[in-house]
């Protein structure tokens, strides 16, 4: 099933992100079936669904970590052209380093746990070619500060930090090069509620200040509702419902979305 997300919008410009008919299977398991999505500049697209619905696989495809079986993916940026799934390894690495940031649910995936926190941020700048130590320090400090990370701990390794602090280091690393697209894979899962709120506040502030286009994946409806302008609901590798966040949450059309929205412990 393919649903277009183009109809209800807040701002009418060219979409920054356009993914069309993305399908991916692992052996006999079809993880994604013809998933399409668009995200407009400065917009937050939320993807919600149960575990195994394919939302993280889709995000990994957007981060060019996975190559889907079929589908296309474009970013409307001056120096980025064509289907990004066709890029070679080097092209993917450079694009991801410079234009796409990602925050993983598991900080071990996104951070070098025994390197300093500032070094983790600096790594991204180094990949992009920065070779001045003073500039690296200054930019790492700036990104950590923007992520509301305590600067007196900027040289502490993430392994010595709490889960919330580790997510802030990941966030600082992701925004260090001011990416056009920020991907967030369950950024608050595993954090306690108070820390969740702080991380979400930081994300909202950054989004408001920098107008970064974000795609956030979560199984937590509260997080998606708080953060998103538009929402995609996924189930078993398919998009079952999509629309403006308020519209989806207040008037869910699909039976699965209704079940999600009304689910209570």
């Amino acid at each position: 099933m393919t649903l277009s997300l183009d109809a209800p919008r807040l701002v009418t410009t060219q979409p920054l992100l356009t993914a069309r008919d993305v399908s991916k299977s692992y052996g006999a398991v079809q993880a994604l079936r013809n998933v399409s999505a668009t995200a407009y500049p400065g917009e937050v697209l939320g993807i919600v669904g149960e575990s195994g619905s394919g939302k993280s696989t889709f995000l990994r495809c957007l981060n060019l970590e996975e190559t889907p079986d079929t589908g296309s993916y474009t970013l409307d940026l001056p120096d980025v052209q064509g289907n990004l799934f066709d890029l070679d390894r080097f092209g993917r690495r450079m694009l991801c380093a410079k234009r796409i940031g990602i925050v993983y649910q598991n900080p071990h995936l996104g951070l070098l746990m025994t390197h300093s926190s500032s070094g983790n941020v600096a790594e991204r700048l180094l990949i992009a070619g920065e070779r001045s130590f003073a500039t690296l320090r200054a930019k790492a400090r700036g990104a950590l500060e923007a992520s509301e990370f305590p600067l007196e701990r900027m040289d502490a390794p993430p392994i010595e930090l709490s889960g919330g602090m580790q997510q802030r280091v990941q966030l600082a690393k992701a925004i260090a090069l001011e990416p056009a697209l920020l991907l967030l894979d369950e950024p608050t899962t595993g954090l306690d509620v108070s820390v969740q709120a702080l991380v979400l506040d930081t994300l909202k502030r950054l989004q408001a200040e920098r107008r970064i286009t974000m795609v956030i994946v979560s199984h937590d409806l509260g997080v998606i509702r708080t953060m998103s302008d538009r929402v995609m609901v996924m189930r078993r590798g398919e998009v079952v419902e999509a629309g403006l966040a308020d519209q989806v949450f207040q008037d869910p059309q699909h039976a699965y979305t209704q079940q999600l929205v009304h689910a209570k412990l």
Binding site: S116, S118, A122, E123, L126, F133
Partner: protein, 304 residues
């Protein structure tokens, strides 16, 4: 036509110890390594009568390059008289009939562990460096398959990250030996565990340097007149060891790389690491006629 007419007479040992096919392979890999400076070339490292890790890589290259007219010099951390250097030198002489020497200026082939001689090498000399770990990315990427991809993509950001971490933790670059260096603007190599003092000697050098790791089965090379640039930040310059003011307590040589010898009273004395340079200095002071070659360093400053 018989089999005997088509084959050579049986010999108890091949010239230069290695059989012809082994030497042919090493030669091909050396040529490849020279064609792509700094790029590691895999080879089937043969068994030699020495334990892996004791210079078997260098030994195989030396055995391949040998001929009876070559003068061979073997040094171990600068010394011609260490047990390892003496053993390798004797072995090379025995399997080749080639003359041996300790004089850097006379040597055609210099096999070395962890040092480059202080006297400038000529275009007709070959330096063979023994390499324990040829992969500079190993400390930042233990998966060698991914490390090879990183070399292919010139993805060396993490090498600078290593230097960044050292400066953050210690206030300076702590990499003392095996300083990662960019060869010909393309591949990062480890120049084997030579001190930082020796890395500038490889840059635009007259001589050919072949680096071989027997245990790890890799050869890489720095051809003559090739750029070898230590990785540095734009605003943190490369610094060699501050040995310029140290004086060798045996020879009186000054301005060269020294070995530190701790004393009972807690102080240190120093002796010049290149033992042959020390011997030449002593003999010169005694009034002997000694040919002293031009050195890379003068008064502790790199002068080339």
């Amino acid at each position: 036509m018989s089999l005997k007419s088509l084959t050579r007479e049986w010999e108890p040992m091949s010239y230069g110890f290695l059989d012809a096919s082994a030497k042919r392979e090493v030669r091909r890999k050396m040529l490849k390594a020279i064609a792509v400076p700094g790029c590691q070339m895999p080879y089937a490292s043969r068994e030699v009568p020495m334990a892996r890790g004791w210079g078997t890589g260098g030994l195989q290259v030396s055995c391949t390059l040998l001929n009876p007219r070559m003068s061979i010099k073997v040094i171990d951390q600068g010394a011609d008289d260490s047990v390892n250097a003496v053993s390798i030198r004797k072995f090379l002489a025995r399997v080749s009939g080639a003359p041996v020497t300790m004089n850097t200026l006379e040597a055609d082939l210099i096999q070395s562990r962890h040092r480059i001689p202080e006297e400038v090498l000529r275009a007709d000399q070959v330096l063979v460096l023994q390499v324990p770990n040829p992969e500079p990315l190993r400390s930042v990427q233990p998966n060698l398959s991914i490390a090879r991809q990183m070399h292919a993509d010139a993805d060396y950001g993490r090498m600078w990250l290593q230097l960044y971490e050292q400066i953050v933790r210690s206030g300076r670059v702590m990499q003392g030996a095996s300083y990662p260096s960019l060869v010909n603007g393309r591949f990062v190599m480890t120049p084997s565990p030579i001190p930082r003092w020796d890395v500038p000697k490889l840059n635009m050098a007259n001589h050919l340097t072949i680096l071989s790791a027997g245990r790890e089965k890799r050869i890489h090379a720095v051809p003559p007149f090739t750029r070898v640039e230590p990785l540095v930040f734009d605003d943190v310059p490369y610094r060699v060891e501050e040995h310029g003011a140290l004086v060798c307590h045996r020879s009186g040589a000054k301005g060269f790389f020294m070995n530190e010898i701790p004393q009972d009273d807690g102080s240190s004395s120093y002796e010049v690491s290149d033992s042959e340079w020390g011997v030449k200095t002593i003999r010169l002071a005694e009034g002997a006629r000694v040919e002293m070659g031009k050195t890379w360093y003068r008064n502790g400053e790199f002068s080339q």
